[in-house]
Symmetry: C2
Subunit: 144 residues, 2 copies
DNA sequence: TTCTTGTCGGTAATGTTATTACATTATTGT
DNA sequence: ACAATAATGTAATAACATTACCGACAAGAA
């Protein structure tokens, strides 16, 4: 069912920039990284991002105003992960790593809660901010 | 445990503006509504919002870049609702109404998922965007 | 082919959201 | 009074996002 047509040049450049980054990028960071490739204006980035998000290749992190490449398999045209319907993100404040968590339980519970209230959900955002396993052990006392 | 000292003038004005609104307000909308009360600059709003959020009197809606007054009871110093630890918001795209949903199940599940990954959660955002019961029945056919 | 339609792209300007920097005033504790 | 802390005022700037307008190009219909 997924639209399987090829990405445009701008879309490829943007998704590549995100894939090569180990942390989320803001639209303007992406723009800066693509200057050499001919990008001049924010709109070039935002237009590409819109399409990529539409296809599920990129996620927007609302609490960061930034974007990440989806880590799920998109190689074959259909079923690009996210079975649960909602994805939760665990975002590390220290290193910027982002984990995608696909959990049917939470999805089901949210759907139930929405149904109870006769709320028709179009889109759900779940973002946990904190410290990943790699960073959690470090010395976080402000003064060394 | 809650700090029970009085709100400052600016903080009172900001929280009142939010309470009087039936939809979330952006910082700049709040600023506009408080011009007559002497507000001149965004920072006055943001500083008050920071304190109000710290106290749990106001919530920030990340997917909207806007703010709402908390609907829970804050009249007595302690225990200002939000027992579940996380609050989910159901935000109507049509009328702007915001419902706060306090659900221990989701909180527990998210904590479990975080623990599994040794992720130390500091703050969690859950926002459902959609249509509330009042608006869901309306004619949503674009042309009418 | 020619015409239309739709998608994509380039550019500029503008709109919206949030912060930094610095000076001042009010409050609180001693 | 004095020092320390919190709150405020103002200006400037940074960061994020959209609108408007125009041109290029491909696909499909006449
Ligand atoms: Zn994904
Ligand atoms: Zn980390
Ligand atoms: Zn609340
Ligand atoms: Zn509604």
């Amino acid at each position: 069912m997924t639209d399987h047509s090829k990405l445009t040049r701008n879309q490829s450049l943007v998704v590549s920039a995100l894939r090569e980054s180990d942390a989320p990028l803001s639209a303007y960071m992406i723009l800066d990284r693509l200057r050499e490739d001919g990008f001049r204006a924010p709109l070039q980035v935002y237009r590409a991002l819109d399409k990529l998000i539409e296809r599920g290749l990129v996620h927007r992190l609302e609490s960061l105003n930034a974007f990440v490449a989806c880590r799920h398999d998109h190689s074959h045209g259909h079923s690009h992960g996210h079975q649960g319907g909602v994805v939760a993100f665990a975002i590390c404040e220290d290193c910027g790593s982002v984990a995608e968590i696909d959990d049917p339980t939470i999805n089901a519970r949210l759907m139930a809660l929405a149904t109870d209230r006769h709320f028709k959900t179009e889109k759900t955002t779940i973002e946990m901010r904190g410290h990943c396993s790699a960073c959690a052990g470090e010395s976080h006392t402000p003064q060394a």
